[in-house]
Amino acid sequence: MALFVMTEYRGQDQINVAVNSFFRSNPLVLAGYLLAVKSWTWLLLPAVLMAVATLLLGRFFCGWICPLGTLLDLMRFKKKSTTAFRLPLGNFKFWLLTALLTASFFNINLVGLLDPIAILLRALTFFFYPLLGLGVREGWVELYHLIGEKRDSLAPAYGLLRDHLLPFRNTIYPLALFSTLILSGIVFLERVETRAWCRHLCPLGTLLGWLGMFSPFRRVPAELCADCGQCRELCPSLFEQEAPAVGECFRCLSCERGCPDSRVSFRPVLQLKNAGPLIPERRVLLGGIATGLLLVVPARFRFPESETRLLRPPGVRDENEFLKKCVRCGECMKVCLKNALYPATWQSGIEGFYTPVVIPRLGYCEYNCTLCGQVCPTAAIPDLSVENKQCEVLGKAVFDKNHCLPFAKKIDCIVCEEHCPIPDKAIRSREVMMTGPDGAERIVKEPYVVEDICNGCGICENVCPLETKAGIQVFAVRNRTPIVRSTARKLLPDKSEYPEYDTR
C-alpha cells in the first residue's frame, strides 16, 4: 500500500520504488510475456527468482506476499463460514490458466486482466484512490467556502496530507465501477468460502500452485490426524479441498502454529509422493487450449474509426508489440503527471481492454516527464531518457479549420503556439490578411503545424480555449519515427550556471 502511494510525482524526476516490483516478480506476468513476446527481458528476472523460490518452497506467495490475499484475510469479517457450501468449480482454474496462456502464445496477452495484483491495483487506482482524494479535497474546499482565509491556520496539516498521501488532482477514470465490481466480487466470494478466489479462480495462484507441487518443503503429516482435525479450521486452503493436494498449500504455517499437540511441522521431504496428478485432466487442458484459440479471434476486432484517436504513451512505436507486453496494471495511468492516460474501453478491441490511452483534451504528455516508462513493469512503455522521450511521437496535431478561431472566426488566438513545448515550435503562425464576418479586412495570425517536428504531446489540444471540441486535435499515426532534434540548437548548457537550482 505504501508502494502504491509512492507511485506519484512528488517533485522528483525519478521514482525509486513503485508497485511495479510486484509485477516484475510475478511469474504469471512472466509466463504471459514470454509466450506472447517470445523474447527475454531482464526486467522480469525477479519473476524467475520467484518461480524458482516457489519450486523450492511451494505456493508461499499466496500466504505471505500477495496483497490481494492479505486484503482478503483482513476483510474476513466473521469466523470461517464452515464448509457447508463450496463453489462447484473443480478444475475450472486450470482451464482458465491454460486458456490465458494459449491466447498469449497467439499474441493476445490477457493475463493482466485476471492477475490478482492487477485487479487490486486497478480498483485502487481507478476508484478508491480518487475517492479518497475527492473526499478529502472536497472537504478542504468546502472548508474554504465556510471560513475563507481562516482556513490557512489549518493548512500545514492539510499540506502534510496532500504532499504525502493524496493524489495530486482528482481524476475520474472510465471503468472505475467495473474495476471495483470485480474486486468487490472477489471480496464477496470470501463470504461464501475462505479464499475462494485464490483457490478456484486466480490464475497466478494456479500457476504458483502447479510449480509448488514440486516443492520438497512439505507439511508433515500430510493428512489430517484422525483424532483431531483442528487443521481444517485453521487452514485457508489445503484442507478445504476434498483431496488435499500439495499444490494448494499456501505454506502459511497456520496449522503449525495452531496445532494443540505441536504435531505439525514443515520440513524438506525428499519424495514427490502425494503431489497429485501433474496435469489436472486432459480434457481440461485441451479445453483450455481450445478456448484460448477461440478467444484470439473475437479479441482482435477493432473499429477502424476508433483507432484514429488511439494515442499510446510516449515511446510506444508498435501497437501489436505494445499489446503483447502491456500487463494492463494501470500503473502508468496512476503516475501520469497530467493525468493524460486512461484505460481503453473499446477503442482497441477486447485485447486492448484496460490498456493506457492518451486523451489530450483531459491531459497532455508533459514534455520533460518520463514517469510512465519508469513504472511500467514490462517496458511496454520504454524507460527513456528525457531527451529521447521528447522526440517520441504519440501522434500528429491537425487543425480543424471549421472550429479553430483564426480560420473560422477570423480572430487572433494561437494559444496552441504559445504552449507548444518544441524549442523550434511545431505550431507556428503567419500573418494573413483576412476578411472578417463584418466584411472588414484585418490581419490575423493564422497557425499551422510543422508536422516533421510535432511529437503529438497534445498540449495544444488540451489548452485550446474553444469549449468542448478543440480546434486542434492529435491523431494517431502508424509511423512513429522519432522527430529529429536539430543538432545546431543547444537546449541546456553542459554545466548549469546556477547549480543550486539545477534539477537535472
Binding site: 482565509e149 503527471l337 508533459e366 495570425k445 485550446c464 540548437r489
Partner: protein, 294 residues
C-alpha cells in the same frame, strides 16, 4: 457667451479633462524608472529598487505582500522562460526587511505546477524562509470579480492577489507569439483563473482591463537574461540573450516600455503597452520617463 457656446466649451473641456489632468500630473511627477546592471543579480535587484525609493516606499510594516514572478513553464533557469530565482529571492528579502507580515509567491502555471515550481528554481530559492509562502494555486480560491472593462466584464481572479496590501509584479522579459513580448502587463495573467486562452482573442484590451482592476504597486522586470524568440516557453539556448539587467518602476507601463527597447522595439509596437497607456495606466513615452541607471 450664450448658452450654446457654454455647453459646447463645457463638453470639450469634459472630453479633454482626463488627458489634460493626466498630462498636468505627468508633468509634475514624471514616472521614475531604474535600470541596474551587473552580474550579482540579488545586488542589482536591490540597487534598482533602492533607486526608486527603496522597498519601504511600497511595503509598510505588517503588510501582506504578493510577489508574482513568472514561473509558468517547466524550464530550467538558463532557458529564460521563468523569472530568475535570485531576483525573486532578493525582492522577497527586501519585503521582509521592510516589515512585511507575510510574503506570498505564486503563479498559475501553464505546465504541471509541481514541475514548474521545482524547475524554475523559485521554490528551492525560497525554501526555509520565515513568513514566506510559496504555495501552488488552489483552484477554489479564484473569485469572480466585476472588472467592468472594455472586453472583460467579469473574470475569476486569485483571492490572495486581491486581498494583499501590496502587489509586486516580477516578470521576465521575453518574446511571445501573439503579444510580441510578455512583460509586466501580461504577467498579470498568472492571477487569472478560468479559460485564460479566451482572452487571446482580444489580448491587449483584456490585459488593460485586468491591470486597471489589479494595480501593480511595483514592477520589477528581470532582464538578467531575455528570451528573444520562440517564446514564451523557449527551450533553446540560442534564443537566450544575457543582459544582466534588472528594471524597477512603480509605473508598470513605463517598466514595460523601457524593457521593450531591450529587444530593439519601440514601446507602441507592443499592443498591450499601447492599450494600457491609452487607458491611463502609466507612461510609455520614454522621454517622459525619468530613467536612473545604477
Amino acid at each position: 457667451m450664450d448658452r450654446r457656446t457654454f455647453i459646447k466649451s463645457a463638453g470639450v473641456a469634459t472630453a479633454l479633462a482626463p488627458v489634460l489632468i493626466r498630462q498636468a500630473f505627468a508633468a509634475k511627477e514624471p514616472s521614475l524608472l531604474a535600470v541596474a546592471e551587473g552580474v550579482d543579480y540579488p545586488a542589482i535587484t536591490r540597487k534598482a529598487i533602492n533607486a526608486i525609493g527603496g522597498m519601504k516606499r511600497f511595503v509598510k510594516a505588517g503588510d501582506v505582500v504578493v510577489v508574482k514572478p513568472n514561473m509558468g513553464w517547466d524550464r530550467s533557469v538558463e532557458q529564460a522562460a521563468n523569472t530568475h530565482p535570485l531576483v525573486v529571492r532578493a525582492i522577497v528579502e527586501e519585503c521582509l526587511s521592510a516589515g512585511a507580515k507575510k510574503v506570498k509567491v505564486f503563479d498559475y502555471t501553464c505546465n504541471d505546477a509541481r514541475r514548474c515550481y521545482v524547475n524554475s528554481g523559485i521554490e528551492s530559492a525560497l525554501k526555509g524562509m520565515k513568513r514566506v509562502e510559496c504555495k501552488q494555486i488552489e483552484p477554489e480560491r479564484f473569485k469572480k470579480v466585476p472588472l467592468n472593462g472594455q472586453f472583460l466584464k467579469e473574470w475569476e481572479l486569485y483571492d490572495e492577489a486581491l486581498l494583499a496590501n501590496v502587489f509586486i509584479n516580477v516578470p521576465i522579459a521575453k518574446h511571445h507569439g501573439l503579444s510580441k513580448l510578455t512583460l509586466g502587463l501580461k504577467n498579470i495573467m498568472g492571477i487569472m483563473g478560468g479559460n485564460r486562452g479566451f482572452i487571446h482573442r482580444n489580448l491587449d484590451t483584456a490585459l488593460a482591463d485586468v491591470n486597471s482592476y489589479v494595480r501593480s504597486h511595483l514592477t520589477v522586470i528581470d532582464a538578467t537574461r531575455i528570451l528573444t524568440a520562440h517564446g514564451p516557453q523557449g527551450g533553446s539556448l540560442a534564443d537566450v540573450k544575457r543582459l544582466d539587467k534588472v528594471i524597477a518602476s512603480a509605473d508598470i507601463v513605463a517598466a514595460d516600455a523601457f524593457a521593450t527597447t531591450l529587444f530593439g522595439m519601440k514601446p507602441p509596437d507592443i499592443p498591450a503597452t499601447l492599450s494600457a497607456y491609452r487607458r491611463g495606466l502609466g507612461e510609455m513615452n520614454l522621454d517622459r520617463i525619468r530613467i536612473v541607471r545604477v
